[in-house]
């Protein structure tokens, strides 16, 4: 029996305004339990593809189906965004609260969680990325790697079963990279990870894709 399809992009075409076509006839399927990696030269369209899935930009052509429903307009994506955890490539894009605590609480509060439960979520999410004791720090004044970890924690706090992670290891120290890899081992997760770190992809994914001239192609992880 086949696993349920989560993300289904069909013949998607996209180009930024006043720029040549970037993604050409993109077909991509993510099924329940899939652990997919994406690698490829800078500017090949990896981030763009994730934005299309989250509905942050709209394709010129083709269809985006998520959780079995076609998504076209802004409001079609509301539940997509609640159920898929998306890590931006740039942590600064993700952080806007006056304290680490509020930063993590924001998602759970929007989902109707309250009081003790939220406190427990904050504690657990921080521990998972190794930021215990950072609860009252100001997000703007963290170091590059600390911001990355916090951004990851805000995603984990929403307990998504599906993840789209854009360069999750960017600027992280080695022990934290290991930690993230362990988090991804949790059974039942499905995800797409974009990364330039081949070792990390080897450890966390079962298939890796790349773009060649705007066309999605399987990537053979080179053996050393």
């Amino acid at each position: 029996m086949e696993n349920r399809i989560i993300i289904d992009l069909k013949n998607v075409n996209f180009g930024y305004r006043e720029r040549p076509a970037l993604l050409k006839d993109l077909n991509f399927v993510l099924r329940q339990g899939d652990r997919v990696g994406m690698i490829g030269p800078n500017g090949c369209g990896k981030t763009t593809m994730l934005y299309l899935i989250m509905g942050l930009i709209k394709p010129n052509d083709g269809s985006v189906e998520i959780f079995g429903r076609r998504r076209v307009q802004e409001h079609d994506f509301v539940d997509v965004r609640e159920r898929i955890g998306f890590l931006f490539q740039n942590s600064d894009d993700q952080l806007f609260c006056p304290s680490v605590r509020e930063e993590i609480a924001f998602g759970p509060l929007n989902f109707g969680k309250r009081g003790k439960e939220v406190e427990a979520i904050i504690k657990r999410s921080l521990a998972r990325v190794g930021l215990d004791g950072f609860k009252n720090r100001v997000p703007y004044h963290l170091s590059g790697g600390e911001k990355r970890r916090l951004a990851m924690a805000t995603i984990l706090a929403m307990r998504p079963r599906v993840l789209l992670l854009d360069e999750p290891t960017l600027g992280l120290d080695l022990p934290t990279v290991q930690r993230i890899a362990e988090i991804l081992e949790e059974p039942g997760l499905s995800y797409v990870v974009v990364s330039q770190n081949i070792d990390f992809l080897k450890r966390t994914t079962t298939q890796v894709y790349t773009f060649e001239d705007g066309v999605l192609t399987p990537f053979r992880v080179p053996r050393k």
Binding site: P98, S99, V138, Y140
Partner: protein, 202 residues
């Protein structure tokens, strides 16, 4: 919030331009090459923030934030508003160049008043004081701007009495929302960058 092109009489336009020029002269004296980038980047953030639409019941209103601008920029508000309006005239055509002066006055004078009235309470040791100051700065900014618009319409001619009345009424909910959002922004800034609330950017 602004006065449309071709509506108010020439004397009002001229008076507005003169007042704006005087205000800008004061403001520019407080600016140097050190703080110009800071003033500019903050102004552009305000420029963007004024495009934000906030829901009020079934409709939405866009923010004006002139009270807050005053608190942050002090007298530099004048040149900052002038440039912001000039940009709007060039990029969006919300207004044009003949009303540049009046509209600068409409926005900047209330901002300066808020700066003079509320700066101290906003820098209070107590969060509640800062929040209340923020609320009043937001609301006063709108209230005075609306009054100035009404006055310039009325000094053009009494035919505008009804327009001015309608304009005042329509802005009551906006005043409240501006007050609330400004209070939250003040609380946020005071926690992370209290230096910003000092009123003069160095």
């Amino acid at each position: 919030m602004h006065i449309s092109e071709g509506v108010v009489a020439a004397p009002v336009l001229v008076a507005g331009a003169a007042a704006a020029a005087a205000g800008c002269a004061v403001g520019l004296r407080k600016m140097d090459y050190q703080n110009t980038p800071k003033v500019a980047v903050l102004s552009s953030a305000f420029f963007v923030a004024s495009l934000v639409h906030i829901p009020i019941g079934p409709t939405s209103a866009h923010l004006v934030l002139n009270g807050l601008v005053g608190i942050l920029l002090g007298w530099i508000t004048f040149p900052a508003v002038l440039v912001g309006l000039l940009l709007q005239a060039i990029l969006f055509q919300f207004g044009g160049i003949t009303t540049l002066g009046v509209n600068t006055v409409v926005m900047a004078v209330p901002a300066i008043v808020c700066y003079l009235l509320y700066s101290r309470i906003i820098r209070s040791r107590y969060a509640a004081g800062a929040a209340i100051g923020g609320f009043f700065a937001g609301a006063t900014g709108i209230l005075l701007a609306v009054i100035l618009v009404a006055l310039s319409l009325l000094s053009t001619g009494e035919q505008f009495t009804n327009v001015a009345r309608l304009f005042l009424l329509a802005h009551v909910p906006v005043m409240v929302i501006e007050g609330i959002v400004t209070a939250f922004i003040i609380l946020f800034l005071r926690k992370i960058k209290p230096e910003l609330l000092g009123g003069d950017i160095r």
